[in-house]
Amino acid sequence: MNLDFSPDELAFRDEARAWLAANVPAEPLPSMDTADGFVAHQQWERRLADARWSVVSWPEEFGGRGASLVKWVIFEEEYYRAGAPGRVSQNGIFLLAPIIFDHGTTDQQQRWLPSMATGETIWAQAWSEPEAGSDLASLRSTATAVKGGWLLNGQKTWSSRAAYAHQGFGLFRSDPSAERHRGLTYFCFPLDADGVTVRPIAQLDGEAGFAELFFDDVFVPDADVLGEPGDGWRVAMSTAGNERGLSLRSPGRFCATADRLLDLYASVLEPVERTSTATRVVDAWLRAEAYRLYTWGTVTQLAGGGDIGAAGSVNKVWWSELDVALHETALDLLGAEAEVASTWTDGYLFSLSGPIYAGTNEIQRNIVAERILGLPREVRA
């Protein structure tokens, strides 16, 4: 048992640290959920890609460095410690790309991965529907087979980045007679295809962070089906773990916020604010540190050929609650100043969505109880 990095890993860390120190924008970029901010974030992705930092764990032929999982986590720690911008391309890189690598054809890999790595094409996940949230398998949007492809109809919603993104990926019911988890097919489609209407929806902060999508006889060629028709659920579930677990929620993000919280605590002079928050400051830091160490355990397990499986749900509840705690504590420390918009208020509003997206925390607790503790399944209608 050890937490030591190899010389090669340390060299990688130093290289990343030096590049980030020289390249991270001094001023925070405007919100990626505004027109200008979206473009600014795409340009940042391009800059990362030019130095081959945008997709470090991908194979070199697709713009990566073939970095191990350990190096990937090291990179993420450095990335957030350097205060680098949020990743506008994260849905594509972290949720879709693993599926394209595992289930995509060579043609699909060549068509989709390079422009994803440079940030030229931004992808949006289209899973949720108005009537299918937690009960995702009840989704109703349809795919009807036609010559050479499929026609998509129906409605998707809460699709992050879709207001400005270029491509979507999601599940459609291709066989209405099949049992609900079967008969689903995984499609990729352009968001400007004929028959697609994108209606942005403003979030709590007033910006259109997600959108609803309407499909009216949208043609998708067979070549853009991911995996086998009818196999969409299984394909999709192979990324659900990514979203909840390690690959989207690197501890670097929370550790960096915990460090900033300590700085804030040290700088606040109001004795009342300090005394009343001291316990929560320590506890928030502690939980970020626990998450950091927990991640090294997960990395060890994955590197040994293991699978995170349901442990992704343990992770999800922890990071989402931690994020809320970090930001609530910061706002309480700020006292009356907390009312003024700042990166802390932005972070706070975003943290509030954590217990909802990527599967609500209630659903994650069900998974922990049933799949990890082995408790009886819920009685379902």
Binding site: M1, L3, V282, Y294, T300, V317, W318, Q364, I372, P376
Partner: protein
Amino acid sequence: MKFTLTDEQAGFARSIDDLLSRADTVAANRAWAAGDHEPGLKLWSRLADLGVTSLATEASPVEVCIAFEAIGRHAAPGPWIESAAYLPLALPGVDLTESRATVAMPYAVDADIADSVYAVVDGQLHSAQATDSSPGIDPSRRLFAVSAGDRVDHGDLDAAFDLAALATAAELLGAGERVLADSVAYVKQRTQFGRAIGSYQAIKHQLANVRIALDFARPLVFGAALEVTPRSVSAAKLQAADAANLAARVGLQVHGAIGYTEEHDLSRWLLRTRALQSAWGTTAYHRERLLADLLAAR
């Protein structure tokens, strides 16, 4: 970077767990609480034969944590933290592997069965004499007041304290794991309203919270074992105490009234958990120490 037990360490964990699973540790715990030390002392010598009393000086803090997690899981009685974690570092050069010792912190646990008793006075170690005993919240940890005698040569008392606090954290982790396992087994078998109570979401979610809390306490405990510092130890003790306390509270709740009885074995861990939350640095103490350390490093 391999943040998991090595094969050798996992083997040690299994052998100590096997030994304790085969012994009736709960009976030994109850007897100890009632003043009959016989079964507990037998258990002590078997654990000593396995090497538990020499881990602090001859193995690494990781092995110490493995052993104490098992002691917590099985509620084994005896002044283990004092004799096998604190004093070996506090008294370098003194061979304690064949004896039992205890130290007042501020009470001397199990002084009546200790071959030697110590006390810390103004940062110095002294030999001591047990005087009055006070009933403890955990009757299997018998508490004694002491009167201090002569000063003795000692080693790094801060390092000894940190190893003891870390061992306490590991013991709390083991206790929490045990309560969770027993609670899960119970809710699968207890039915109300025609269903196993473990199928009710109100029960499932509470137990899921316990699983999550313990899963995040474990890396802090073993992370601290790899690098024992005031910061890492305080973090481990805080989170382990919190997670074990949650396990105990939820464990009691899901058992209902049977869990509130002395006769049910759950009582062993509920009382031990509460006792260890205050032992070797209270939660408030460790929180303050951690905050001070974090701020000093800014």
